[in-house]
């Protein structure tokens, strides 16, 4: 799955949880979930569960702790998909 498709999918997933619409519209690899999108830690968990469902993968604790920005999310999704 290419970068652009993944970013679009992540954008849809984080949409209900973000407080900052402008940052969401400008979402890129460099977008940080907490600092840019102002997502709280409880909603980060929901985002990870939504990512699991959307891509049919299981995110482990180590990956969860790293998944704080779009770049890390893409890397984790791609590596899990490759490992299947």
């Amino acid at each position: 799955m290419d970068q652009e498709t993944l970013i679009a999918a992540i954008k849809e997933i984080v949409k209900p949880y973000t407080k900052n619409e402008e940052a969401l519209n400008n979402i890129s690899e460099n977008t940080d979930f907490v600092n840019d999108l102002q997502i709280n830690s409880a909603n980060l968990v929901d985002i990870i569960l939504d990512v699991e469902e959307k891509f049919n993968i299981v995110v482990d604790n180590d990956s969860m702790e790293r998944m704080l920005n779009v770049k890390a999310a893409i890397e984790i999704i791609q590596s899990k998909l490759a490992g299947q």
Partner: protein, 149 residues
């Protein structure tokens, strides 16, 4: 942990403890009850000459039994439970009936999930006639406060 041990671990003082006892608890859910004391200070103002239990306190009973008791049971034992709690992160509760001073309410909570430190529960609060007063979804994140604080 037993039902009684869970209560011993709760982080609340008498002025804000909204659990009298647990009726049942396991890894999937909790049931417990609380009776609102008719002399509670809030009834003097909510409302003037017409005391009704505030919805925020019904939500608090749901959260203390349905989220915090269940969360402590799932994540702690008697060694580790001191200071363990769950910080409320979201609640969406719909109210149907009023609760008057002195009424006993029963909370029934079912775990939706517990992952990455977040506990999400489907919670219902019934009155003593067994009628549903309110219900909704309550979530919290695991926290540990300093025990020497």
């Amino acid at each position: 942990m037993t039902k009684e041990e869970v209560l011993e671990c709760l982080p609340y003082g008498p002025s804000f403890l909204f659990v009298d006892a647990l009726d049942h608890i396991d890894n999937e859910g909790a049931t417990g009850h609380y009776t609102f004391h008719p002399e509670m200070e809030c009834y003097k103002g909510h409302f003037i000459k017409y005391p009704v239990t505030p919805g925020v306190l019904l939500t608090e009973v749901m959260a203390q039994i349905g989220l915090v008791c269940l969360g402590i049971y799932i994540t702690a034992d008697m060694e580790t439970c001191k200071g363990r709690s769950f910080a409320l992160t979201s609640s969406e509760v719909h109210f149907r009936l009023p609760v008057f001073p002195g009424e006993k309410v029963t909370v029934i909570s079912e775990k939706v999930y517990f992952r990455f430190g977040k506990l999400k529960c489907k919670v219902k609060l019934n009155n003593s006639e067994g009628k549903e007063v309110c219900s909704g979804i309550i979530s919290g994140m695991i926290i540990t406060r300093p025990t020497n604080a």
